[in-house]
Symmetry: C4
């Protein structure tokens, strides 16, 4: 069932330690088949060096396991909420990558200071509000998803495919699992650069809107002219 | 004697350079057999690239070498004190990992700013007091153990399995050698994140108690629901 | 056509991830044949792990593709402008390397604080002005080149072979592609050291002119005495 | 001639990129045969990936090349001065390692904040004064040596085997080439920790003398009890 997708999701999960985004099992990637209404996600708490494509778990949009010998990631209810609300996305990744997580712990948005950010993520990467005690104690992972969705109620989740979860970590997404991981790498790198930029110049302001627009649009949308027709 | 444990302790010691927690011989891991009252520890000052499982040293709870061609780690008396006082632990690791050691040198506790910390270590990671001149000059390594124990007199050493030794380095522990090393990796990562978090937001406060409790409890205790029944 | 140069440019491009100057496809290197008036450059947006020497694109000094199955790097018009204005250079590299890019985002020059910098790059590494909205919207990459040239109107581009592009990234150059990458490595390292130097001593001033001159001149010019006659 | 020493010096030079202390050719190691009054040093400006044991250059204590097809390191006169003044040392290393060099650029000593430092280097690691314009322009590398010696006129160069050269880089030394590199690794690590320690606690003070003495003496001198009789 969804064997090709399992391989892709497996590879995307293995990219997390490759790109130095996770230690141990501290991350998970999923990808959805919109027609079937099913997504494939990493099992919970299995070491990366033991993980195999066939260990991936198939889950439906109510969070039920449809196939798989393992329990799915404990963050599965967050993935469910995001897939239901963000209908144009095809893949989701959660990590505790060092610099992005430090922004999440600090409770600060990541301002766009340059084109490395603007090339892939449009505008400020928001940090969500804290969950309330009730939200945490009732259905924590589901409510994590709801608070992310709330954070994007006046934002374009396609143009800004990443969020910081207060005191926790980050989620990023994209048209498929691989692109979601790509965005998580961008997120971590621009988080690091944002810290360094502020250290170098404490008075620094957001990059001018015109250069943000230029770089985002030369890679995205109908007038994009960056890249060749080879796979991302 | 204790051949399987020697292999495990050897592997756990080799994990220290793998996880970038030590340079040269600046660390040591041990594991205890509670029934026999014996523990296995790395020899003192032997290069990691020359270390073999059979080089591990067997020591009793009075610090006597029971088997082994080498002297045990010079920190052996600290391990003895900790095994005697912390009866529920099965493995201990000592490192000079960069970020945790910087907290130890700064004489500051590591506050819990997020779930990366709360997932594995409950609450603040304490920094011990300085040893007195007398404690240093009489039985330094033994007194290092005693001061750690004093630091935990009103703390739960199972829930908070790590400590910073003032001006020195860190000790972490767990149910076995491997889990102790896991906790040392967590310690180093949350130390790094804590520095970055404060740089990003100098006014940052401890994460809310509710999210700390949630993350710690979803991985520990009788209501834990994280992970699958595969080895950690 | 230019097969040897394609191999060199390919190798120089592959050095970017090797020296940790780029992630994904975020960089490009070119080298020029001054007699033929043609340069070889990386194709746009092709993954480094799929790149082959024969994928390199040959471009003339009006920016026309002379040979190649792929589109050249989207930054090609910047390379064209620099080759036309800086007649003594033979290779150009563009990256978003972390520390140099953070200076570019901060809009700050990199002061020469020591001999690591002075050995390879004479004096301050300038940060260009922002492009105007009009410059961005009309011919962005060409105007990026023009603004770099403007930044060097009172500077010696041979002695100072690097520039920071405001809110963007960096360009470095040299007598060939390999030397351009060498200078990009120096740029990234001295950017990192400059941040750390200021953290250690916020009052620090530029290194004395005499030591800057000494180190630059012992490696460059007719009285150079550093190195052996083996290839750089 | 001195074939075994050439191999050791070659290996010690290759350790510089292995321990991430240098980029390109920015470092050099030498070792001396005190009976013969000759030392072996890396050739100048030869890439590490092309270096071979037989490329090492043999030099006498007046700085004359006794054997070798290449010019010796341009820093050879500094090595000569140090070997002549510091009669108990057997190996010297020069690097531009990132964190130590940042202290040199900042013109600040490295205070001893903990046992990682005290285990190998006794007390403060001094930063030398600037060379005068005359010292730079006449015999720069020789005067670099003289200024280091001046920096140690009231210090014990055996107990404190490292120095920061203002606006430049560092030298470290030891009983042989390998031990000199070991001390250079320690220097870089304690430089990094010292920066982080100050960031964590801006009021931090030097570690108590008693713990510095304890750690230094448990590894050095006639009452040392650290380590086993296997090679360092």
């Amino acid at each position: 069932m969804l064997e090709e997708m399992k391989k892709r999701v497996y590879e995307a999960n293995m990219d997390l330690p490759r790109y130095n985004l996770v230690k141990f099992t501290w991350g998970n990637v999923s990808e959805i088949d919109r027609e079937k209404g099913l997504f494939v996600i990493k099992p919970s708490g299995v070491d990366y060096d033991k993980l195999k494509p066939e260990d991936m778990v198939v889950v439906d949009l109510e969070g039920n396991v449809v196939e798989g010998k393992y329990k799915p990631s404990s963050d599965t209810p967050t993935h469910v909420e995001l897939y239901k609300a963000f209908e144009k996305i095809g893949g989701i990744v959660h990590t505790h990558s060092t610099w992005a997580t430090s922004f999440a712990q600090a409770g600060k948005d990541i301002i766009c200071y340059g084109t490395t950010h603007a090339d892939s993520i449009y505008g400020t990467i928001p940090c969500s509000r804290n969950l309330t005690k009730e939200e945490i104690e009732s259905a924590y992972e589901l409510n994590t998803g709801k608070v992310i969705i709330e954070t994007f109620k006046d934002r374009d989740y396609v143009a800004t495919p990443a969020v910081l979860c207060k005191n926790h970590g980050s989620f990023a997404w994209g048209e498929n699992a691989k692109k979601a991981v790509y965005n998580a790498v961008v997120l971590e790198e621009v988080a690091k650069m944002a810290v360094l930029t502020k250290i170098i110049n404490n008075e620094v302001e957001e990059a001018p809107k015109s250069i943000q627009d230029k770089h985002y649009n030369r890679k995205h949308g109908k007038n994009a002219y960056y890249g060749n027709k080879v796979e991302v």
